[in-house]
Symmetry: D4
Subunit: 162 residues, 8 copies
């Protein structure tokens, strides 16, 4: 069974990460979610990642703040795509987590999304799964139509036309 | 035929983008490469993206500098994964391109790699293709072994051991 | 009929954008205001811009946050002047929106105002219209006199003179 | 006679500003160009601006680096549109000039373009003149077609298609 | 009569500027305080500065936020020392005001203090006056002794000694 | 008797510094804690540091915000290791204190920890003491096991496994 | 005899500091110039500052890069005005030195000039001396006239007038 | 045998790291030096660190650029002190490496030195060893005397005294 695997560095990250979970649930995509830290539990992280990969994890979402190493650490353990979700809360309004996630060395990419961009982390994960899942691809395209309708409805409440 | 589609915003980006091309060639991965700008040729970009998607493009790599909109524009055209490659050369040592690429709104993710990180853009694209291509997955795993050997060889030239 | 056309990327931008609307109302300047996103509704944006231009839009104000592409996207659709209004809320205290708005490539300018500078977006739009509208030009000059009076009144409440 | 008025803060700015001059020449747009500093020659600046406005200046381009006050100072002297062209060379890779140009207070807008964005300063100035000059508007539209051709030609030299 | 002249760009700056006023009062130093803007009331600013200088102003404190030009503008009007007090509230947590105040061109210095550093603006002004006022110099030296006592008292409330 | 010596620049720093104190107490490590400023009480700082060193201080923790000079000043007084703890509250979301602490000149190192990273300042101090204290080293290793358990417990409350 | 005292943190700073020296020479202002570091030679710095103050130093110019503490250290030693001259060469294009110089705590001001702004450091020092030296004040006013002439001459070489 | 263990992420870091090596050699301190990457060779890094610790490594110096994870990764493997040496070359003039090194989570400190601060990394390492090595402590104190002499000599070449 294919699934998305979500890791976060500490429990306090869950408030933001939950938004990714909600998106995956809404689209009926299988996922796992655990707390595991690149620094405090590297062994746990490694064991989980290798096991999850065997059991069908196709993509990892790794959420962390400050010197956010979790995504990079998982990227070093697997050739599956790793999505980095940098979280605010450290220095320079989140720039620490963003740079620590995105500025990876050659050969070890992390697919980084916006600061606190949990929703987009989930969307990106689904886009990867959809490469091989037509039903999910169709849902993503339908979702875009819904997004358009949402913009039109929002606009109708305030728009001014001559 | 599955392939990686590379777009860059202007000809001057090619010096950096070429490194992505070289990686894909080395791994024997099919790719296309064109210049098309989000701002100067939006119609050309749209036509190319939709056509490429029909012909088998599974992932887009979009390279741009300054107010780097190309990746975001392509993300808006397709539910295929889009890799954003921000390029230096504008303001604040490249921070403009990085932020303009990664800080995407909800529902429209861009998988952003490091500033001038053309090599990682190629690796990330291959990781996505490898989700459904065991041969490529194996090559990526073998490459990691080669990377380890490279580190060991580099180290042997300078290392000091007691 | 000449008018100012205001676009914003999402409904949450309206709190700030409303200040531009209020200024235009106060000066009796015709305007339109809609929500349309560069990423979620590019087609809607394009259709609106081309139509508005035909109907008399002389200048566009485009408000967006984060990887703020709306102004750049509209600039690519029209040779009418486009005013970019970057909004806070993303990373680095708004620097993402500012850089994504102002750092446009050659040939596609965006006239960028301050972060959350909705009032100045309206003033700049009126200055453009006033190039061909003497009555409005006079109003703008009178407004400057009022601004001077306001400073003098404010000062009189706290000033200390020897 | 309508014209664009270009001011720069010091002679060393001319290397960059010249690119704006070249664009205006190419499009056959009337312009003036002088050196005048907000700090070293405020009186000269004021006299020039008021005189130029009387003689037909429709828009001012003000180029300055570091604590770039020239555009703001001119904005305070006239209700004509003022384009701010921030120049690199000070601190934080030009961020000083960008912020000092764009972050204007309420009622005194500066239409800011990219760091060292002299070409776009000229384009933006022409867009303003073109609001009331159909011939120039047509030239700007034709220029966009040329830009598209340029992208296509550039691409043809390096593009790879399957 | 020698005095310190304080200018601020808008009424909203007074909350911070008041701290400078309080320090000057506490030390019995003559001062004036007005609101005058570099952009909205340049003429008022100029008239006030020239008049104040004639009446005995020995140093100007200029408080402003965002594209903080007030200190630079006053520096251009007088060879008396000008203290720049940058205020938070704009972009990048105040970096806009700091850079716009401190990055002055050659020949036109602004003596810049910390962001929102109203108290130090007052201290610096007094240090300048004290160059020619032994009584004030003595007060400043006594104040340093008081500062030492304050640190010692504060420490005694929490310190832990083995 | 070996001990950790904690200095902070002002009383307002104590809210953050207290977290370092709590960690040292929990591990039963001797410490001293005083307020002393690099700028307001340089003599007090010097006398304390030299005295503390004689009495057994093995490492100094120096907490300060803004232009945080305390750690650097103590580093200049002693060849004992100095841990710099930069505090938020100044400009650019704490970047001022971080850079003023870490960017020390050759020969005068400061071991800098994260912004507001009082807990890690204490841990780092204990790691230094543990170089020569096996009991403390064992406690630090046991603490790591506890940290792992804490992550596992936190995870068990929210984790989702397929 | 009144004089300006210039300190710099290391010999490599002299290339920039020399420009301040040249200005003072040109205006015939007495000065001293030494190398002394806040970190490497705090005792030397203190002895020099106290001695110089007794011998007639009216203002100190302190040049330093990176975690630039020299100006702050001297400010703590004397109630004479201290001009901070931050130098590039460390991190973030000089932002480290700027913030470490300007962000001083309450009661200990540093009059900060632009990054590498040696010329303005000299001008500011002369403005302070000129408070009590009419001849120097006159020279400074004459210099402003020369600056105006220089701008006019520079302009005449490139200006375009209709 | 006690020694300092130096790790660097890639061979290109050696130009900077060599300066640390030179300092340790000059002081006659035992050291090891290898290349090992947190991302490319995590297993090699772990094996080396655990082995080195057994053989007498008392402190680790970890040099890396960009998303510099090496110091953090080693900190997670050992309770020995870890010195982080961030290197320039990535984004925002090295801010990426600095933040990725210093902003570590609770319980896992990294003692961070200046960007490219290899010399200080060596000094800090020696300060730690000197806690238990009187001879080395004496050398460090003598070195400070030499530094003072160096400043005095440098000064004598350029100083100006009245």
């Amino acid at each position: 069974m294919n699934f998305v695997s979500i890791l976060m560095g500490s429990k306090s990250d869950y408030n933001t990460v939950k938004k990714a979970e909600d998106v995956l649930k809404k689209f009926g995509v299988n996922y796992e979610l655990i707390i595991s830290s690149a620094h405090r539990t590297p062994q746990r992280t490694k064991e989980y990642v290798l096991d999850a990969e065997k059991r069908g994890a196709k993509v990892f979402i790794c959420a962390a703040g400050m010197a956010a190493h979790l995504a990079g650490a998982v990227s070093a353990m697997s050739v599956k795509p790793v999505i980095g979700l940098p979280l605010k809360g450290g220095a320079v309004d989140g720039l620490d987590a963003l740079l620590a996630t995105v500025q990876m060395p050659k050969g070890m990419p992390v697919a980084t999304v916006a600061l606190d961009g949990a929703i987009n982390a989930a969307y990106l994960a689904m886009q990867l799964l959809a490469l091989n899942d037509k039903e999910l691809a169709t849902k993503l395209e339908e979702d875009r139509v819904m997004q358009i309708k949402k913009v039109e409805e929002d606009s109708s409440e305030i728009e001014v036309r001559l």
